[in-house]
Amino acid sequence: MIDEKDIAEFIYREAELLDTMQWQAWLDLFHPEGRYWMPLEWQQQDPVLQPSLMYEDLLLLKVRVERLAGERTFSQKPKSRCHHLLQSPRIVACVPEAGVFKARTSYIYTETRGDMLERYSGWASHDLVQVGDALKIRLKRVDLVNFDAPFGNIQLFM
């Protein structure tokens, strides 16, 4: 039976996979219908008819991951690295009988490349579903505190 501790562990594990650049293992955390969403508006409700920074399905996430290792991916020469500093996830819902698992996690994200270091703050909302014994990401929503700021390249995943 999945409990609140499992949800938190899942979220820490996800961040660890990103920080250690285990991209394929990270993709494997997604449900086939999973989405990664970065809204561009405050308390945004609609990822389709409102503007977003990212709203990607598994196909597009695979493109990103494959691109990171591409021979002609010049924006990854040198490569980027990232670091997630997470607060304890707040479990918003954990109802195994209904298959509902939701958490919200406050974090600071650092992305670095060459001599550049950029820092972002925000909240990650995870909507998870149970597939077999495992949890999978149905939706990972990333709300930056300054979503409306003009950023330089954000190349990895928050």
């Binding site: 561009l40 503007p51 990212m54 399905d57 196909l59 591409g70 010049f74 003009p150």
Partner: protein, 446 residues
């Protein structure tokens, strides 16, 4: 020591027939002169009338370095002012947009202004009695930008009091804006989305040039568009429907021949567009119901004419690009010689199916966002150019592709789509608008 200030000859010498000197991208003095001469002498995009739907609505913008604002007055008219209080110079509006109600009020001493900019009230007004205040510029209220033209809801302004008229400046190039607006069955566009903002550590002109550079997509974007096509081919399985995402990414990988044949059209004053015969936007899947709406609104023939015009990127010199087929305008806002803020706006086609708006928003985040992998490809190249141009090995940037030895300037022509002529066209206009008021100043001083 100033090398270029008020020296029209030295500035003109930076632009040769098919080469430009690196100082146009890297010299801080040239950037200052662009802010002082080029931007005020040009017609600059301020915003869209749909952002000013109700009386009291306002937007803020910059023309070059100068803060301006536009507002909707109670009688429905739109006005553009310098965004400064006539008293101590405090910025009146600090947000990108909002509604001020019946009047603007300066937050420092509560001077207030009607939404047409005229002075409404000053606290303790009697303190100005007998001071000659009535004869000062401050008494007129917010300083107005006098040369403002609203063309099919696109608000343009020219800060210089004298210069080229709006009609002479844009001429036939306005056909791209016409086409974008005509794509709405109601002939109307609306801004409903906040723009995607992207900070570029490079000179603003690199972005403008890139809009008609058709020899880079298949090279620089192999990493993004190329990978998207590759992954789709591998993963599609039995699926026959091409997702919208792949439709948007795929055409970037078209071969040189495709871009050669699609053509470039140039216009006077530095304007021009890629995608004359066809473009990367030619083959998007039809959106159900849209053609019927267009035929009902415009008739069979006109509807097909409008939708058959699939221009790729239209550069409106100096600093916007319009993409009519996906309703996007990119504004390349100069911040410093090596810093440019890009704002990418999406317009909604009023009365058209949601799917078209969805596609436009999707295109914008796929191609124009700081989280866009296509954007990463481009920005990497601009940053490397900004670094590389420091090299003294060769101080000239080569723009000679399909140059035939002599080119007429300020003409309309359709040319091979891989030509660098539109870039040459832009630099001719650059030199012209940089120096057009310098001669006069020199004369006046003599």
């Amino acid at each position: 020591m100033k090398k270029y200030g008020e020296n029209a000859e030295a500035i003109a010498a930076l632009v040769r027939e098919a080469e430009v000197h690196r100082d146009v991208y890297v010299d801080p003095e040239i950037f200052e002169l662009e802010m002082e001469h080029l931007f005020p002498n040009s017609w600059i995009y301020v915003g869209h009338a749909s952002q000013l739907a109700k009386p009291g609505d306002f937007i803020t913008a910059n023309i070059g370095r100068q803060p301006v604002m536009a507002s909707r007055h109670s009688d429905g008219s739109i006005h553009v002012f310098y965004n400064r209080c006539p008293h101590k110079g405090v910025k009146i509006a600090s947000e990108p947009c909002g509604n001020t109600g019946k009047f603007f009020r300066c937050p420092y001493h509560a001077w207030s202004f009607k939404t047409d900019g005229s002075l409404l009230a000053i606290p303790l007004k009697k303190g100005y009695e007998g001071t000659g205040f009535g004869d000062t510029q401050a008494n007129e209220g917010l300083s107005k930008v006098k040369n403002v033209v609203i063309y099919r809801d696109f608000i343009f302004a020219r800060l210089s009091v004298s210069g080229v008229s709006f009609e002479d400046y844009f001429g036939e190039s306005l056909s791209t804006i016409d086409n974008m607006v005509d794509r709405s069955p109601e002939g109307k566009l609306a801004v409903q989305a906040t723009p995607i903002r992207y900070m570029h550590t490079c000179n603003w002109k690199m972005l403008v040039e890139n809009q008609t550079d058709t020899c880079h997509p298949m090279v620089a974007h192999e990493s993004s568009a190329g990978t998207a096509v590759k992954v789709w081919k591998r993963e599609q399985g039995d699926s026959t429907e091409t997702p919208m995402a792949v439709q948007l990414y795929g055409p970037f990988m078209s071969p040189y021949e495709f871009y050669e044949q699609s053509g470039i059209r140039i216009w006077p004053n530095g304007h021009g567009h890629t995608g004359v015969a066809n473009s990367i936007h030619s083959n998007y899947q039809d959106v159900s119901g849209y053609l019927d709406q267009m035929v009902a609104a415009y008739g069979e023939q006109r509807a097909h004419e409008i939708l058959g015009e699939v221009r790729h990127n239209t550069v409106y010199f100096p600093n916007i690009m319009v993409k009519g087929a996906v309703q996007i305008l990119r504004n390349f806002i100069p911040i410093a010689v090596d810093k440019t803020l890009v704002e990418s706006w999406v317009y909604r086609l009023v009365g058209a199916p949601d799917k078209l708006y969805e596609r436009a928003l999707m295109y914008n985040r796929f191609i124009n966002a700081p989280t866009s992998i296509v954007g990463h490809d481009d920005l990497e190249m601009y940053e490397r150019a900004q670094e590389g141009l420091k090299s003294n090995g060769n101080q000239w940037v080569n723009l000679r592709r399909l140059y035939d030895g002599h080119e007429e300037q300020d003409v309309t022509a359709v040319i091979n789509g891989t030509s660098e002529r539109q870039m040459r066209n832009q630099f001719h206009a650059w030199a012209k608008f940089m120096t057009m008021d310098m001669g006069k100043r020199i004369e006046a001083a003599e």
